[in-house]
Subunit: 331 residues, 2 copies
């Protein structure tokens, strides 16, 4: 086997992780901005969702050339953020550098390149959008400008898993002032393994002769402290991505039971654009059991622009409303 | 040590690599398009440069979730391609999916997002570019449109190191019909290690408990067959990126001596935007020695938009002209 797992090293807890791994240098600055964003939203009585998106990397060297990467274009996160914004939420969009972003995602550099939309007027040298392209762009652009004018979107960038973990903790703690009005939509594809700073090679690993052996530690399970300590009563949605259909439901259920948060959205790598399963607790009276709710769309409808994230967010917004109301009844 | 190299497995040669690793499914289609592009350029008497750009990934699973990634935004390659186009070359731009591209690179999603350039006219609902932004965009857009109208840019995409190696071989073989008029500018950040298909895990590696150990094979040195077999008399420029300044020159010299191509451009990760070193053979009469030529720009000038790639490409275009003339004298 070229890839194996061993059990020889003691796994990091979230606590020992943050005690031994250094925070990113931009953390304080980032969090100040998040704090003022959240306090403006709180004043305006808006619900706020943290959307994490894109993959994380694990640098193998201090002067970084090589990474272990969980690559993700960030389609799920960027698309979801757009539907949250359409539903009136304020969004903290915390994404991997270079992954897709709400609105601009419609015009990537490869598909639908934006320079192709533009025309130069021969006489005035003014630049305009060709009329054939303008109706779709007009919709996107109007929402984009409205969201920015209303100050409802705040963007944060991470690259490594260390950036991600520090940011997630700090943003969650800030967001927790909103209690039940905060949602945490954890769509980023977070790696399971990392290389502690103390074990990293200072310079580029020289290839020389022969093969490379990398031994990595397991990333601590941060959903546990997130539920128990960082986000007070917030509505937490995590994702479980598998390639083996048979593992999807058991692993999603296990995650919900282990961490005690609100929803695990399970998806299979090959069908994730057409179906997802919501795994959540079904509370009937005093009894609580775990239920599964499938959301499916016709694969053909995606050609006409239908996106399953529209249905995911509609469902979550409803559930979140009930969650907020539940809190009000109780308090 | 968390990362070590061992010598137990027999390294792949280029020959055994291509004999055992499957080609990407799109290869034939891609190469047909490259062939007709090159034959149009040949008819028009244009010089053609292959620019490779961005990093490669090594999938660790067949149903890919995890990669080992040599990430690179592709700034060097995308910028260089633009200067080659300005110098009249036709360009085959072979880049990593989602890495930067010539022209659109000026308007990434994060810095200078293009949606911010656009304004909606209140009455006509026409979309235009705000006049404050329009002068820089006008320059970029004019060149972009001219290059496309003249059919001088052909773009190819790769993701994995396997895609890259198969494409590089096939494109080089196509380009070799141009003999000395072809240049190969290998700016992609290619990984040194890979996981042979035969050793890959079918599904997502389960994290379970404990650490992950990955053992990878060394990527074959393809500059050797590239010089000796694939590109007949083409002008080959390779890059050497190091983080340890002391290793830069020795490794660049060793590479030139080993493969016998025309230029190694050495650069240090931390200073690569301000200085590079050309390592090449200095032929005086019958004697041949290796010389180093540094190109440097004032770091302050980059704030005003100066790019070192402008000087790199100017120098290479001159050297390539001499190389072409040398061939004509000899034949």
């Amino acid at each position: 086997m070229a890839t194996t797992t061993s059990t020889k090293s003691e796994p990091f807890s979230a606590e020992s992780y943050f005690a031994t791994q250094p925070p990113p240098s931009t953390l304080d600055h980032d969090i100040q901005n998040v704090r003022s964003f959240i306090s403006r939203q709180a004043e305006l009585g808006r619900n706020v969702v943290l959307v994490t998106s894109g993959g994380t990397t694990v640098p193998l060297e201090l002067n970084v050339v090589r990474f272990l990467d969980n690559f993700s274009a960030g389609t799920r996160g960027a698309t979801s953020a757009e539907y949250f914004l359409q539903a009136g939420y304020a969004v903290v969009f915390m994404h991997r550098q270079f992954s897709l972003q709400p609105f601009s995602r419609h015009y990537s550099h490869s598909t639908n390149p934006f320079l192709d939309l533009l025309e130069i007027d021969d006489k005035s040298h003014n630049i305009g959008v060709s009329s054939s392209q303008s109706s779709h762009l007009l919709e996107v652009l109007k929402t984009y400008k409205a969201v920015h004018n209303e100050g409802r979107l705040h963007t944060l960038t991470f690259v490594t898993i260390n950036d991600y973990l520090w940011l997630l903790r700090a943003v969650s703690q800030e967001l927790s002032v909103l209690r039940r009005r905060a949602m945490y939509y954890l769509a980023a594809a977070v790696g399971d393994f990392f290389l502690p700073r103390q074990k990293m090679s200072q310079h580029k690993i020289q290839s020389g002769k022969g093969s490379l052996i990398i031994e990595m530690d397991q990333v601590p399970k941060i959903l546990k402290p997130m539920v128990d300590e960082w986000s007070r009563d917030g509505y937490i949605v995590s994702f479980k991505l598998e390639t083996d259909q048979d593992l999807l439901i058991p692993k999603a259920r296990a995650s919900l039971e282990r961490y005690g948060h609100q929803v695990v959205i399970g998806n299979d790598l090959n069908t994730r654009k057409f179906e997802v399963v919501f795994v959540s607790r079904d509370e009937v009276g005093d009894r609580s059991s775990i239920k599964e709710t499938w959301l499916r769309i016709d694969p053909k409808s995606t050609e006409a622009g239908k996106e399953i994230e529209e249905d995911i967010i509609r469902e979550l917004v409803q559930r979140h409303r009930k969650w907020i109301e539940g809190g009000q009844t109780r308090n």
